[in-house]
Assembly symmetry: C2
Amino acid sequence: MTRTWAPVPADSGFGLANLPYGVFAPPGEPPRCGVRIGDHVLDLAAALGDDGFAAPSLNAFLARGRTAWTQTRNRIVDLLTDTSHEPRLTPHLYPVGDVVLQMPFGVADYVDFYASEHHAGNIGRMFRPDAAPLLPNWKHLPVGYHGRAGTVVVSGTPVVRPCGQRKAPSAAAPTFGPSAKLDVEVEVGFVVGASSELGRPVPVSRFAEHVFGVVLVNDWSARDIQAWEYVPLGPFLGKSFATTVSPWVVPLDALAAARVPRPPQDPAPLEYLAEEAWALDLDLALEVNGQVLSRPPYTRMYWSPAQMLAHMTVNGASLRTGDLYASGTVSGPEREQRGSLIELTWNGTEPLTLEDGSTRTFLADGDTVTISGTAPTADGGRISLGEVTGRVEPAVDG
Amino acid sequence: MTRTWAPVPADSGFGLANLPYGVFAPPGEPPRCGVRIGDHVLDLAAALGDDGFAAPSLNAFLARGRTAWTQTRNRIVDLLTDTSHEPRLTPHLYPVGDVVLQMPFGVADYVDFYASEHHAGNIGRMFRPDAAPLLPNWKHLPVGYHGRAGTVVVSGTPVVRPCGQRKAPSAAAPTFGPSAKLDVEVEVGFVVGASSELGRPVPVSRFAEHVFGVVLVNDWSARDIQAWEYVPLGPFLGKSFATTVSPWVVPLDALAAARVPRPPQDPAPLEYLAEEAWALDLDLALEVNGQVLSRPPYTRMYWSPAQMLAHMTVNGASLRTGDLYASGTVSGPEREQRGSLIELTWNGTEPLTLEDGSTRTFLADGDTVTISGTAPTADGGRISLGEVTGRVEPAVDG
């Protein structure tokens, strides 16, 4: 890999191989688009002389499509490696610690899948102990549902514990109050750039034409609210109070070396889901109050990103710039690879003891949850997917 | 009611008592906001000298809030009743037949409820004949889910029959192909104008501060796709291919005389759902190929519009300008009041015979579906909610 003149600390996950995009606001200045290099953010409107990046959202850039995305990335690499640009660009590099990172794109529709066999199996074993862990449709299609786009927020946004209805199985009627089973879900999200036409499915082979890149996602979940409400139309208020995403959108171009074979699928999926077979080698980590609780491996996901996209559009549903679809909880086969507290504590029956001696079944007020991730590069290093973090605040009027 | 100088045919549902808002494009001109009077559309940017209406979307106006909505309505009534304005405004009145009506607002999030006891009961009786028709949560909360905002389209947009996976109960595996059970759902949609803050529920008492008005909704549904996919996360591709709305947003101010007592609720709902007790007296009609199949009465809906809003936000989920939430299928207690074909034909077991002698279980290619509606006025007349229509086109590659 060529070297950059920009300052990049040793072991930075934000070298030239990464170059993720985000939206940042320098102190007292309006937000605009930038690309991260080391511990700095490069102002793209200034660096490229392109007003499309002067907006407080990546959407205009995302809408341009694959050819423009690659050209822009190549141009940024040129600017950051050719030392002749250093004098002009240095004033447009901001220390990342001095800026406020904002929501990187406007979310059009948000879809959440359920693509981990280990997660779906764990949930099945917990709630249907006498039946097969997976429901009959699970291995035939990537099960998914629409979430609330308007409550997708950027990393760092506090999460107020939601109130709602919940009913114990033995209770005669529901009660109202703060969720007692506030949970997290470690997920990876895929950001759609190029739109598609209503009525025209997007096949698996066109994944990279439409998907720009990835973010980390914490799909906060109130398990008690969800358990009471979700039959027959699925999760609603148990999920819609907040979904947090990382501030940096890592382009697919930075993840070429992370493509690995997908786990085998049996039964073979129907033809519209059958054309590709790669997964992403992303190592994720779930921390509560700074302590790593699990390391979910994205490589083990049953359904691939391209399969989820093809399924989501096979009925003719169109894509819009800013659509976000997430993988569902990433869990591996081992206990320490589970991406949610409901799995780690087996629905609260096996509490975790944290290093400070306190125990958790689900999240306590004041807990800070952080999800981070890395991906391999061609030269044996790793790039960072950044992190998505949020602190639990007490319920309002709870 | 004062009289207007503008031409309004006798028995028009679009007199001064209505004045719904939409987006229209005169031939060869860009789209902008208008208000309907009789069989004409008044260009609001020109009439009011307000650039907020020059956009191809009502969203900027919707964001202004209740006080501005009422002031604008009063001003429009003044303009249309004081004959001194006639010479200036007449050039800004366009025959509705000469313009193209577009999507009236940009949809932020789309939520679909399930608020008719008769509809939910019919579905329960069909699919769980040996159990109670309603699931245990149904009378405690308005069951709902998020739909796909990006495929909400305006009346007149053709609907391509979706393809997808479906599996007969007796089949070993799913197959892929065009839906054989394409259905409609007669619904009423509520358009959110004023946004709310994340983490702060919107109580039932603040309904009119946030909700601007109503549209008619056809929530097209592929019953076979839905039946296979929906466990456990709810409807997804069976609904996301298209949702059609009427082009005219009827303001709540035009529906004051339509407020009637809501049917009693037993058990009494929890306190956050308990503060108001009105329903809307809207008469709806479902036509296929010009033949009225049913007349669903909105008065009989179990959950009220304000209860749905309060429930949707009780977990702290915020509202955005352009949020749309729909009632779910409107069905009354009588057979001829059912708002979907799955109910009218009892899941295809009781085919309908149309006037041309053909029969239907579900929709055939080429069928045109039209939903219309009216509401009472204070002087004993009725205003029109317009109509939402769409023609079924054959599946692509089907």
